[in-house]
Amino acid sequence: MARLVLWLAVLAAAAAERPKEILRVPMWPESTGPDGGRPAAADLSAKVGGAPARIVRLLGPDDELMLILVLDLTEDLSLAQLAKEALAAELHALPARVYVGLLRAQDGLRVLADPTARREPVMEAIRGLPVSGKAGLLESLPAALRLADSILAKAAVRVALLYVTDSSIYNYRDDYINPVINWSDQHDLSRRFPEGLVKEKIARLERQAAAYQTPLFIVHLNYRSDRLNEAYQTGLMQLAAALGGGSQFCRSRQEIAEAVAGAMRRVVRLHRVDVELPDRRVRSVQLELESKAGPLVYRNRFALEPR
């Protein structure tokens, strides 16, 4: 009995000492006034599952930001070139406190430039990136999120993940299009709704992504209207929204520069709010954030990985 009491006491002490889990929430003030409706930490209040939660940190546009830029350019040289030019213009305009790391997604995720506040090495790597290979956004996303989230957990900086892609669902190495194999089969209904494999992949990624906390932004350079690509593009939109970021789809070349600029503007205005989870056992988190300075846009649902 004494041994049991001792064990319970040890366990209770260990639990009491274990640090509380922190939720790193991407947030934007909705106001676009001169100071961007920028809230102070004291102005913010948070609730997790309806219960008050402590805000432990607020990082805003004045703090350092690490932008992980992933290029997934495989199809159209001219669109890719426009995107590169737009990125060059936007990178040069970024504040000095924004550090940019560059990766490529086609044929597997690979680092092209380590994060740096110097723009030229990143620009050099972007210019030198070939437009070739197979699309890689869907396959590379879990690794990119894992990389970004580990940084988010390690350092008190803002982190954002931005994909610039021209991918078509038809240009993946994996099979999401379920091509006809037996042309003599005239009563095949399984391809009447061809988006099944895309939807399944997106659902899987969304489930995985729910455990990550880095906001995801996607700029797609080439919107396509066929049923499979529509399902794919909607899926990308879904993923970006689920992670608290956003997506833009360009229907013409003229939209590319504006789409890249829009994504960059949003990234630069990103806030990071660290919220302490009151109950460690909760794996599905419903978050409410409020600010005295005005309405906020933030990610309000998280699914934490089981410990």
């Binding site: 194999i181 037996n182 399944e200 229907r251 003229q254």
Partner: protein
């Protein structure tokens, strides 16, 4: 000075002894980036080592789709015939496996080599239904006493043996009941004596099944076919993708598929007129090399090869001609007896085999320089078609009503009565000694250029140059009629010539070289990126295809043809006599060898199908991810390839109709033709004569939402006119303007709607956000739907009789002035007013257009729904169940109305009416395990 130096040294020493300043947060972040990217194998140096980070693993799926009539609604057309079941058994199964190629201890292609392998198999039995007409049992015994015409009046059958000239005939007046050219007695009591029935016909009758329905009117629509198709298929697709260093990539794709299509048996006998069993074998492989010369220049080279073969009619082999006692024909398959309007016995092409091989080399160089993008490409294609396609190896015998009619009087006699008497009006036999080995090629070069004129405006244009080399036969076994060569039999132009002989080249057609321009723009007006205006124009040419038939080999293959001297008076052949043996052995390449046949005629002009299109659209993105597109499009074409239904270079001018009944005399009829030595020409869907024009306006609405919702709606209004499309053919070969009418398949209104919705249920979703065991039930539901509504095709009316002496192959109806073709409430009882139309008088053409300008067949609609439920399993595995409902509302579309218009004195009582409807809900259940 000393003190200063000491002070500095002291400061350095002290400084060195102080602890290092902690790294800043951003430094920590950078270090973490480097560490994690190394651990995850995202860096070059890490990638070269074996990385255990997120190394891709093999993944794939297993699936099964099941359909069974147990789940389905009984199709409306089956229920209307009293059926309670429509057999359906279908299993579709397969797998996919993909990932890096790893051969243990041999090869590790973790990042460089990727494979994907998919297999799919299918086993199916699916019932098909058709409503047709076959002879009644009484008619088969020669008893026509109960048989009536389409107006319900008794149909008299005349005895051809009683034919004699009418001494009172006045050649100055048209043939009529009051002025008969020939006298002929009806069979007593309208019954054919048993001894008069042809023995071959009597034996052939045993292959007709008995009638099994009485839909009517009268004895029509008395055979309901409800039999299963049997289909199987097995196929594999494999892909291998390999990166050679950074700038080279190789992609290898290959696939094969074997299948059997066993269509529904219309008759449970070897005389089945339905399609033959077909066995398919398809193979395809391609290799592509992509070389990224620089970030702005990419070079691509590829090679693709495909081989497909089809074998038909394995079930129909057998010497049925001997069983029937029919002599002089081949002993493969059932002889083909055409007995309109009844289902025939036997069919064309009872046994055939073909193979098609395609080889393509392609090359492209794409580059972007400043505001200009260029793409230069080239290709070469080579086609091989090997065909063994005897059309009538056991003979074709066509029966008409003429020989049992009162000569010159329509609505008398019957084709089946002529058959019972064994009196064929036309017969043909195919003698094919060897397969044909056709070869053709084409190559082309194309340049495309895109210029960003400003930030808001982009132009693009392209120019292709395509070269088509015409068809040759490997052993020069090709022939055609040369319309300029003199025929020694009659000294007229038009004689058979063979390729590669008498100084001729190996081909009959010229090499065709055509430039194909295209241009377009996209423009954001008023500097507004949310609005895009697009315009495009293109002009293109099509090559002359090689069909899988042995058309154009006459002389090497024989087509003995037997033609009635007068289809009302004398048969071409009597079944009991069979066909005489061929007069000459093959090959028979004499200039006159194709005389008295329907001769194969290859177009030797430089004409080639040309298509032109232009479009303009405005796309506007509205708030809420809604995109609205409105546009208009034009397309047109000329020199489109048409077949015998629309092109007849041996047609008789319509003025010849004034000769009236004299035209039934084959010799006189032929004398009026431009090439009288030929019965006709077979141009095999390769005569460049068609023209079309299409205008369309469309509206498209797309809505996407981040909650997993995609909605899309599309409406199109179009009008398409042409001078060649069916459904029955051209009335006037000489004046194409007269044939300019609505395209037979033009459906002016089309509306489609589709949606894909990931239901917001489950954890991290709006509704039912359970986190306990119930999340497995709530999560992973999605819904997809596709609906379509289309207006009907234009109605094509046709007269019941064509008494034009063979001058007009396809006759239009006459319009009755002052009578509206519309009815107040179109329905199955009456869809249109048949009294607005009438059979044209004998030896005159109809004045209505080929397709009606505003009457249309019933519209159709379809609604499909798919519901899926995904279960997330451990280690990123998924189990998905799906239910697909095709026509899930169980909606029935009306059949098309009867468009056969009879003469005013004996109208088709069924004209304008609709017999029943079609359609029924089909459910498919599926399960897929993904890993």
């Amino acid at each position: 000075m000393r003190s200063a130096i000491c002070g500095l040294l002291g400061a350095l020493v002290l400084g060195a002894q102080q602890p290092a300043a902690p790294p800043s947060e951003i430094q920590k972040a950078i270090e973490e980036f480097k560490t994690q990217s190394r651990l995850l194998g995202l860096r070059e140096e890490a990638a070269r080592r074996r990385s255990n980070g997120l190394r891709p693993k093999w993944h794939g799926r297993l699936f099964e789709n099941l359909r069974n009539d147990y789940f389905d609604a009984v199709p409306h057309e089956v229920r209307q015939r009293g059926g309670t079941k429509s057999m359906l058994r279908r299993n579709q199964f397969g797998f996919n496996l993909a990932g890096p190629l790893v051969l243990p201890k041999l090869y590790d292609g973790a990042r460089r080599t990727y494979f994907s392998l998919s297999y799919e198999g299918m086993r199916e039995k699916i019932a098909r239904s058709y409503l047709r007409t076959i002879p009644t049992l009484a008619e088969r015994s020669g008893d026509w006493s109960e048989t009536v015409d389409l107006a319900g009046n008794p149909l008299p059958i005349y005895d051809p043996l009683s034919t004699r000239p009418n001494p009172a005939f006045d050649p100055g007046r048209p043939v009529s009941l009051e002025n008969l050219e020939y006298l002929r007695e009806p069979f007593p009591a309208n019954r054919l004596p048993a001894w008069r029935l042809d023995p071959v016909a009597k034996r052939a009758l045993e292959y007709y099944p008995p009638p099994n329905a009485s839909v009517g009117p009268f004895f029509r629509n008395n055979y309901f076919i409800h039999a299963p198709e049997t289909n199987t298929a097995d196929g594999v697709i494999g892909k291998l993708d390999h990166s050679l260093r950074e700038r080279h990539r190789l992609s290898l794709n290959w696939s094969f598929s074997n299948g059997l299509q066993g269509p529904a048996r219309w008759f449970p006998t070897p005389a089945n007129p339905g399609g033959p069993d077909r066995r398919f074998r398809n193979r395809r492989g391609s290799l592509e090399h992509v070389f990224t010369v620089s970030p702005r220049t990419v070079h691509t080279a590829g090679f693709a090869a495909s081989a497909g073969s089809t074998e038909s009619g394995g079930e129909a082999r057998g010497d049925f001609a001997s069983e029937l006692g029919l002599e002089g024909v081949g002993q493969v398959g059932f002889p083909y007896f055409r007995i309109q309007p009844y289902l025939s016995l036997g069919r064309a092409y009872p046994v055939s085999k073909s193979a098609r091989n395609e080889f393509e080399w392609s090359w492209a160089l794409a580059s972007k320089q400043g505001r200009h993008s260029w793409r230069l490409s080239g290709r070469y294609e080579r086609s091989q078609v090997n065909a063994f396609y005897p059309q009538y190896p056991a003979g074709m015998f066509r029966f008409g009503e003429g020989l049992t009619s009162l000569p010159g009087i329509v609505n008398t006699g019957h084709a089946f009565a002529s058959f019972l008497l064994g009196l064929a009006e036309y017969s043909e036999l195919s003698l094919v000694g060897s397969p044909s080995y056709f070869r053709a090629g084409s190559w082309g070069a194309a340049l495309r250029h895109s210029w960003e004129a400003s930030g808001r405006l982009t132009f693009h244009w392209g120019l292709s140059l395509d070269v088509w080399t015409p068809r040759v036969e490997k052993y020069d076994r090709q022939s055609t009629v040369d319309l300029d060569a003199l025929n020694p039999a009659n000294g007229r132009k038009g004689a058979l010539i063979a390729a590669g002989r008498d100084g001729r080249g190996r081909t009959f057609q010229p090499v065709r070289v055509k430039p194909e321009p295209s241009a377009g723009f996209s423009w954001n007006p008023w500097g507004d990126a949310r609005t895009v205006v697009r315009g495009s124009f293109a002009r293109s040419y099509a090559g002359i295809p090689i069909y899988s038939s042995q058309w154009g080999t006459q002389g090497f293959n024989g087509t003995p043809t037997f033609i009635s001297p007068n289809v009302q008076l004398e048969p071409a052949v009597r079944l009991a006599d069979g066909l005489p043996p061929p007069a000459r052995s093959l090959p028979d390449l004499r200039p006159e060898a194709a005389n008295d046949t329907v001769a194969d005629l290859v177009d030797r002009s430089r004409l080639q199908p040309v298509y032109q299109s232009a479009s303009l659209s405005v796309e506007r993105e509205a708030p809420g991810s809604v995109v609205l597109t409105i546009g208009a499009a034009y397309s047109g074409g000329r020199n489109l390839l048409v077949g015998n239904w629309a092109a007849n270079p041996n047609a008789i001018p319509l003025e010849a109709l004034r000769f009236r009944d004299q035209l039934n005399d084959e010799q006189f009829n032929r004398s009026l033709r431009p090439y009288p030595q030929f019965k006709g020409f077979d141009v095999s869907s390769s005569w460049p004569l068609g023209r079309y024009h299409r205008d369309a306006g469309f509206l498209r609405l797309e809505k996407r939402a981040s909650r997993g919702l995609t909605l899309s709606a599309y409406y199109e209004f179009s009008k398409q006119l042409d001078d060649y499309s069916g459904p029955y053919g051209r009335q006037d070969y000489f004046n194409r303007r007269n044939e300019w009418s609505l395209t037979a398949y033009n459906r002016p209104h089309r509306f489609s709607f589709s949606c894909v919705y990931e239901l917001p249920l489950g954890p991290n979703k709006t509704l039912l956000g359970y986190t306990d065991w119930r999340r497995h039930l709530a999560d992973g539901w999605s819904l997809s739907a596709i609906s379509s509504f289309t207006s009907g095709e234009p109605i094509a009316l046709r007269p019941q009789f064509n008494n034009t002496g063979g001058v007009v192959d396809t006759l239009n109806v006459n319009v009755v002035p002052g009578v509206s073709p519309r009815v107040a409430r179109p329905g199955p009882e009456l869809w249109f007013n048949p009294e607005a139309f009438v059979q044209p008088p004998d030896f005159s053409i109809g004045n209505a257009s080929r397709t009606h300008p505003f009457l249309r067949n019933p519209s159709s609609q379809n609604h499909d729904l798919s519901l899926t439920k995904r279960f997330a399993l451990v280690r990123d595995r998924t189990l998905e169940f799906s239910a697909v409902g095709l026509n899930f509302l169980n909606h029935a579309d009306w059949e098309d109305p009867d468009t056969l218009i009879g003469p005013a004195e004996a109208p088709n009582v069924n004209a304008g009416k609709i017999i029943g409807s079609r359609g029924g809900r089909i459910i498919q259940l599926g399960v897929r395990f993904s890993f």
